[in-house]
């Protein structure tokens, strides 16, 4: 139902212009202002540059990753500053502990090289926030996985259960073994240890994922991922111990021998939505100011850049209004 043309808004949808790069438009019946709050001058430019993750921080600032840095944008003052700078690699995702006052931990995923490089690793680190100097320190490397270019996974989230959840991409159809971190949603304690209630004695929470790049927890506790598929992109409700189909099923399409398909059919957890708009990050929106956004908001990458708004059912585990292009 709803595919808002925000990706191309700056080219064709603008109906009025204000100073300071504010564009006025409508989303459904709601009038909105669209403003560039951090512009290109903050970023190096080029194929592998720029922010990969946005996170609303415990200091009521917008935290964003910026290649070798984590920056913050203060919406009150408009000031950008830097809270972390690393010497090498490409910082992808950032998340803060949800009891930050008592556990001042910041989790980041970082590519060991350029993001779109081949044969490099994505690493998960925990940093500790030092309020005295307002910066991150004491990096603790927790785990890593291999990836090929943009086929990376890499989104990190701290759940309501205070566990850390990380999405990872599969890597050349590896055979799954204990502590193989590829193609998974991983779950770990804030200190990096393995929770006793994980479905098996490693970080694995779910498996059979191709390239999940978005993860969000809904207000009722459901965990939903967005997954960049081969031909069919997915939204999945994450339930522990489940296999989500890859590399037998892509969406609900099986591309393996029929006997393999029939076998996997009996236990695969299928998506709640299948589309062809490569997704990256997702978030939950239920604020009354833009009712048209209620549900899951998805950042679409690739050729169909834009935002998608999925309306969910009351149980927040099923899509009841599917976006269209």
């Amino acid at each position: 139902m709803k595919k808002y043309c925000l990706g191309v808004l700056f080219l064709s949808c603008a109906s009025a212009q204000l100073p300071a790069q504010i564009t006025v438009d409508t989303i459904g019946t709601t009038i909105v202002h669209i403003e560039t709050v951090v512009d290109t001058t903050h970023f190096a430019g080029g194929y592998d540059s720029g922010p990969w993750d946005l996170h609303w921080g415990p200091d009521d600032k917008l935290w964003y990753t910026n290649k070798k840095q984590i920056n913050r944008y203060d919406p009150i003052t408009g000031i950008n500053d830097t809270i972390l700078r690393v010497n090498s690699g490409y910082i992808m995702s950032v998340a803060t502990h949800n009891d930050f006052a008592n556990n001042p931990y910041v989790y980041i995923t970082k590519d060991t090289s350029a993001y779109y490089g081949q044969g490099t690793l994505v690493e998960l680190y925990r940093y500790t926030y030092n309020a005295a100097v307002d910066s991150l320190e004491n990096p603790l490397l927790i785990l890593n996985w291999g990836h090929a270019g943009e086929h990376s996974g890499g989104r990190v989230m701290v759940g309501a259960d205070t566990m850390v959840y990380v999405t990872t991409a599969e890597y050349y159809w590896q055979i799954d073994t204990l502590f193989n971190n590829s193609g998974k949603v991983l779950r770990l304690h804030p200190d990096g240890s393995i929770p006793n209630d994980n479905p098996r004695p490693d970080y694995t929470w779910t498996w059979g994922h191709r390239n999940p790049q978005g993860i969000v927890q809904t207000p009722n506790g459901n965990i939903i991922t967005s997954e960049y598929g081969m031909l069919h992109d997915e939204l999945n409700v994450i339930l522990p111990g489940n296999h989500y189909g890859w590399f037998v099923f892509d969406g609900v399409s099986c591309f393996q021998p029929v006997d393999t398909c029939n076998y996997y059919q009996t236990f695969v957890k299928f998506p709640i939505d299948i589309g062809q708009n490569p997704p990256s990050g997702i978030t939950w929106y239920d604020h009354p100011s833009i009712p048209e956004f209620h549900g899951i908001l998805e950042a679409v990458t690739g050729n169909n850049q834009g935002l998608m708004a999925y309306t969910m059912n009351a149980a927040m585990d099923s899509v009841i209004q599917k976006p269209v292009i």
């Binding site: 925000l6 409508t26 009038i31 709050v37 720029g50 993750d53 919406p75 950042a299």
Partner: protein, 120 residues
């Protein structure tokens, strides 16, 4: 786009043009705070809507003198009337076509509703 996040105040931030001209944009409803402060029990009656050169605003069961403001889509005031009794006719002949908001306020209450000026 690479990511999107919602702030507690309802503003959405998203990364646009992530590969070549990356920037972070916000989306917000500039009229939400006004719309959220509706205290009238009954909505305004605005007719015709959409309209052209004039439209009538009336209120049910309330004859208190009020201020009527017409705001454009940017939230800026384009017309203002003081000490108004209802029903009240607004002369909209000088307004360009587009979306407007009618805000009615008296000592105790306020309400804002959308009105559209159509082309003739």
């Amino acid at each position: 786009m690479r990511d999107v996040v919602a702030a507690p105040n309802g503003t959405v931030y998203f990364i646009a043009y992530d590969r070549f001209k990356p920037r972070i944009n916000s989306i917000s409803n500039p009229l939400f705070s006004s719309l959220n402060q509706q205290t009238f029990i009954h909505p305004l009656q605005i007719y015709p809507n959409p309209g052209t050169d004039q439209f009538q605003v009336s209120r049910k069961n309330n004859n208190a003198l009020s201020t009527v403001r017409i705001l454009n889509s940017l939230g800026s005031e384009v017309l203002r009337y003081e000490q108004v009794k209802f029903p009240f006719t607004v002369n909209s002949s000088e307004l360009v076509t587009g979306i407007y908001f009618v805000q009615v306020t008296n000592d105790r209450e306020t309400r804002i509703q959308k009105w559209i000026k159509a082309s003739k």
